[in-house]
Symmetry: C2
Subunit: 295 residues, 2 copies
């Protein structure tokens, strides 16, 4: 069998983002961690880590980590059957998630799961293919994202959709769209975009026939995004779930009430991930029925 | 003089995170952008970019980008004096900022500045030394962070402090701290930590005499953090500014009302950054007086 002491050292270095932190997490000296990773490399005859800040796994390292992730989940099932094996330390579960889910429905959806199963979550914000890439790399046990196609060995479950509405403050509307928003005024009025991967505003304008460039602020924070809207810095697409209060109080208003974008959300998880992932899947499915838009 | 067409190509590749996006942003073909970067490398006799996904600047590349950043700011002043030079295209200003500032006071602080000077912001979330590293690398024009020492050529202005309070939901308090929080119960009760660099919870526990490890969820989203608190998943330190509503409604309560942590915030900007940065500095200073805690 593989030497899991060595694999655990590799996993800790990648998950903690460095040798010193890995040593702290494992309760070892830094040189012990370093020795273990070197020994692992000697055994497999190739580097498993790129020594940068932070260290990143090589292709081979990624395959090893992917394996570690799944072994951990299976171990957890074993512990449930043979409780003598180890004390009831809380389990850590790493999940990649899109920023807007984390900012809205996720906490309520997982709270009972975390309490019942004594689980601590380590969340990583990634959207689209990047979350899946982390899953393939064995860095996370599951992934919430808009991408449909699961990675090999995993399952992708459609949870529903988040409905995004195009909003702005009343002062912004009066300033930029005095006669109502139109193709010509929309091209000139500053928008807010979450990050370079956020194409929602582009899609919205495209559907309205606004072609080419438009002016926008880049604001990579879910809460900051809403504050930008409320301060009248721009218009932008936000999950309905996130702005129920400001919408009902009239602090934010819709550009075109009948135009919205539904973004599908998938839960990707290992098919052989054990009962813990199956339980989490059950909780997510139930929560999604309540908060997401059915597709 | 340097060939700024080539430098602009380098800047676009780094800022946009790739050759294809840089080409779109510059309105050039991808091969033209690639040619320009290669020509720049031929002139300086060294690589300026590491061709990875995303491409990152080499040390020399960083020094060139740093220079580009400052030239852009000076050009802007010139345009203000000689308006014939170019149309009134909005200026893009890249700023590194800590997540909690972006989630709270930033939008209101900069809205008048953005309107008056026709500025679009590109914000990058980084805390501590990383934001300053980006400044040194010429990737951003300014930086809001808790680190005091400015990079060479820049100025660090103390804006004030954000006050963090340790909060949890009433249900969480009843479950974990029925007899009030204590050294022994705090070590067992799950906390929430923003990311591996977030040491606030560690400091808080340390000051209370709770030594060693403690259980925590990792939740790298300002809004998600508050949702985790409200769902009773853990306790954690949050900026007072962010939770005025939930605190006043009793949805979140304090662990120890007299214990808080004040985190200083500095605004770092180039000393020779022209009037635009000076104006932004004036707006930030004025806003900080209203919302931050004086130090």
């Amino acid at each position: 069998m593989l030497d899991y002491k060595l694999l655990a050292a590799l996993a800790a270095v990648v998950e903690q983002g460095g040798f010193e932190r890995a040593a702290n997490a494992l309760g070892l000296s830094q040189s012990a961690v370093s020795q273990r990773v070197k020994l692992l490399e000697a055994r497999v005859g190739q580097p498993v880590l790129v020594r940068a800040a932070p260290p990143t796994p090589t292709d081979l390292g990624r395959r090893l980590l992917n394996h570690v992730q799944q072994v951990r989940l299976l171990e957890r099932d074993l512990q449930a059957q043979v409780p003598e094996l180890e004390g009831a330390r809380p389990e850590r579960l790493r999940v990649a998630i899109n920023a807007d889910s984390l900012a809205t429905w996720w906490a309520e959806a997982v709270k009972d799961f975390c309490h019942q199963h004594n689980v601590l979550l380590e969340l990583v914000i990634e959207d689209q293919e990047v979350g899946l890439k982390r899953m393939r790399a064995g860095e996370v046990a599951g992934c919430i994202c808009a991408a449909e196609h699961p990675v090999a060995g995993a399952q992708g479950l459609l949870l529903g959709a988040m409905r995004y509405r195009a909003l702005a403050s009343p002062a912004y509307m009066a300033h930029y769209f005095a006669g109502g928003p139109s193709v010509s005024t929309l091209a000139q009025a500053p928008a807010i975009v979450f990050g370079v991967d956020d194409q929602l505003q582009h899609r919205y304008l495209d559907a309205l026939g606004v072609k080419g460039d438009f002016a926008y602020h880049l604001c990579p924070s879910s809460e900051g995004f809403v504050r930008f809207l409320q301060s009248g810095l721009g218009w932008g697409l936000v999950p309905e779930l996130q702005v129920e209060g400001p919408l009902s109080r009239g602090e934010l208003v819709e550009l075109f009430p009948t135009r919205f974008i539904d973004v599908p959300l998938y839960w990707h998880y290992w098919r052989n991930g054990g009962t813990l992932l199956a339980e989490l899947t059950r909780h997510l499915r139930r929560a999604a029925l309540k908060v997401l838009v059915p597709l």
